[in-house]
């Protein structure tokens, strides 16, 4: 460990400003997660422009805090209204809502909170131990290996992001095309600008992420609002239960009794989180499904705290590991990791294995924030979870226009450029069309981020091999291995319908229990 860098990181993190932004991030995140329809990606996309007015540690605190808070926050509305704040918490509905109906909503929310924080902390420790070792390994890679590694990441993302292989890969193709608009990354020559001068600098990241993640979702929700009016069903009586002092809490013995389910969640979540493309929803359902199969005597699915512990530890254990590919290889493995990577880029730090030597203090600060974020999540979640349950009642009719306004401010505030706002609106429409056609958005954003790196490495490999394409692409055994792996993943996905099976994990569980 570089002691000096660690001291610098301590000085960066333990300031009033950083801790305050971390607290604000968690506070906003839990609230955002508790509102059905808003996800961590939407929140981070909206906060991204704000993050680069902050110091690096404050920016990381805000975004990571928001992410951690949002993943837990989703469970609040899942338990209170049987409406998960985000798909990650869908598995929590089965047992959580049943407990609420039994008058044990408080116990359910506390189980979700404690298992989330436990799993998040454990997986963060794994990240801290594993990421530097992988980064050390990645430093040995040349441009050919890096190129194929990116191809593998894009392939995994495209194939595992949804149930339809062609749509996942299509999203990656759109991202690659959009990423080539503007000056090329090596010679700085303008291309693909459709004759528009304002496109010379390319599409800026902030309007892209706000458009694709936030605006498109608001268009979708606005349409939904006009289509049918949602009637909050018996919300008052259930909320009264959460706030009631007589409501049953969670004992330490009960918390400890969930250790097996939390263990499963930590294992599954850490592994799934580190793989590009899968994400927290898959982890939660896998963990829930495994626990249900292994411990039938615990009556998971019938209103058991063990079911909540399995699902919530599964989804929260993905939070830290999702950053592993970003930190170790400079390749984001999920939409949220891409947004955190974007925040680093906007702060002038390119995520890559070299970050561990060039910006060691930032890496240590990030590790500290990952761990500290869990304590903030615990404190803020414990103090406000029952208040946040009310947020689920904020009508979409008010939320949607306010978030649309925030999207405009976010796109404009980033560079003060009006064209960014119009670009954001256009990309919002593209995102809306993709949602309608069932095309996942995450591969687009991640490939957009990777596109310049992909080209740089390809051209570097070509230069090293004096223009010989064979040598540039297949000049090393590892390169050939990675290329083969990418091909194998595509063939396997097509043959076995892997994406469809993964997407089916949640649906199969949804069909089984009856609420």
């Amino acid at each position: 460990m570089q002691i000096e860098a660690f001291h610098d990181a301590l000085a960066l993190v333990f300031t009033v400003e950083t801790l305050a932004w971390l607290a604000i991030g968690v506070f906003l995140g839990v609230g955002l997660g508790a509102i059905p329809g808003l996800t961590a990606s939407t929140g981070i996309a909206l906060m991204l422009p704000l993050s680069f007015t902050l110091e690096i540690a404050g920016a990381l605190g805000l975004l990571i805090g928001l992410y951690k808070g949002a993943v837990f926050g989703g469970s609040i509305s899942a338990i209170s209204f049987a409406t998960p704040g985000a798909p990650d918490s869908a598995a929590t509905v089965y047992d959580g809502y049943k407990l609420t109906k039994q008058g044990k909503g408080r116990k359910a929310i506390l189980t979700a909170l404690y298992s989330s924080v436990t799993a998040d902390t454990a997986s963060d420790i794994v990240v801290i131990l594993v990421a530097p070792t992988i980064a050390l390994l990645a430093l040995q890679f040349g441009p050919t290996e890096r190129l194929w590694l990116m191809v593998v990441a894009i392939t995994l993302l495209g194939t595992l992001s949804g149930r339809h292989l062609a749509k996942g890969m299509l999203s990656a193709g759109i991202g690659l095309f959009l990423g080539t608009i503007g000056a090329d990354p090596v010679s700085n020559v303008a291309r693909n600008t459709f004759g528009q001068d304002w496109l010379r600098d390319g599409i800026h990241l902030v309007p892209l992420v706000i458009g694709i993640f936030a605006m498109s979702q608001m268009l979708d929700q606005g349409l939904e609002l006009l289509r049918r009016k949602r009637v909050p069903e018996r919300v008052q009586e259930r909320l009264a239960d959460l706030f009631g002092k007589k409501s049953e809490g969670l004992t330490f013995r009960e918390y400890l009794s969930c250790w097996r389910e939390m263990g499963i969640g930590i294992g599954v979540g850490t592994f799934v989180g580190a793989l590009p493309g899968l994400g927290a929803t898959v982890a939660a359902f896998m963990s829930y499904g495994i626990a249900k199969q292994l411990f039938p005597q615990k009556r998971i699915g019938e209103g058991s705290i063990h079911g909540i512990a399995a699902a919530e530890s599964g989804n929260n254990a993905t939070v830290g590991p999702t950053l592993v590919p970003l930190l170790a290889f400079g390749i984001p493995g999920s939409a949220t990791a891409a947004l955190i990577g974007a925040a680093l880029i906007l702060q002038g730090i390119t995520p890559s294995p070299r970050m561990f030597t060039l910006h060691a203090e930032v890496i240590y600060a990030l590790f500290l924030i990952l761990i500290l974020g869990n304590f903030f999540n615990l404190g803020i979640g414990r103090a406000f979870a029952f208040v946040y349950a009310r947020l689920g009642q904020v009508p979409g009719e008010v939320l949607v226009p306010v978030i649309m306004l925030m999207a405009v401010i976010g796109a404009f505030a980033a560079r003060g450029d009006a064209s960014d706002v119009y670009m954001m609106l256009g990309l919002g429409f593209l995102g809306f069309l993709m949602r309608r056609a069932g095309i996942p958005e995450a591969p687009l954003v991640i490939t957009f981020l990777i596109a310049p790196l992909l080209e740089e490495n390809l051209r570097r490999a070509l230069l090293i091999n004096r223009g010989d394409w064979g040598g540039a692409l297949f000049g090393s055994a590892l390169g050939i291995g990675l290329a083969g792996f990418a091909l194998f993943v595509i063939l396997l996905t097509f043959k076995l319908n892997v994406g469809r099976r993964i997407a089916g994990i949640g649906h199969a569980e949804e069909e089984r229990p009856k609420r």
Partner: protein, 157 residues
């Protein structure tokens, strides 16, 4: 409303047409065939991206899921055609008005219009929210040091 035009195969065809058109456009551009000093073709990466889209579009025409109608397309009606563009237009107009009226004056009419459209009632509530939210947002961003458009109120704010 069910129909072939909602199926994955139809979506593949739309993609094929759009990506095909873009590919032809890029191919026709002189910059696409320009060879850089390092021997790299400037148009290669955009064409790889479009090629990828074309292959995926073709795949959607013939793959086993081609007859399936995506869940999100099942309920598509005329509202999907005009509501999102109107929402975007209203947002764009709001931003355009911001450049000369300023954020505090341009945001309330936008919020009021969209809230009433979505069904926020009573009118008094919509009015209060549409004024209070922009003022609060403006104050928050000013505190953070982010300068939002001030327009005609520049002298006062």
């Amino acid at each position: 409303m069910q129909g072939w035009w909602r199926s994955n195969q139809a979506v593949g065809l739309y993609i094929l047409l759009i990506a095909g058109g873009l590919f032809l456009y890029v191919w026709a551009q002189p910059w696409a065939h320009r060879v850089m000093r390092d021997g790299f073709l400037l148009g290669l990466m955009p064409m790889i991206g479009l090629g990828f889209m074309l292959v995926c579009g073709l795949g959607m025409l013939v793959d086993p899921l081609r007859r399936e109608v995506p869940e999100t397309l099942r309920e598509v009606g005329w509202g999907d055609v005009w509501v999102p563009p109107v929402m975007l237009l209203a947002t764009g107009l709001c931003f355009w008005a911001m450049s000369w009226l300023g954020f505090v004056l341009a945001a309330p009419p936008f919020l009021l219009f969209v809230m009433l459209w979505f069904g926020v009632r009573p009118l008094r509530l919509a009015l209060v929210l549409s004024v209070a939210v922009p003022v609060a947002v403006f104050a928050f961003f000013t505190l953070l040091g982010v300068r939002l458009p001030r327009g005609v109120l520049a002298g006062f704010l």
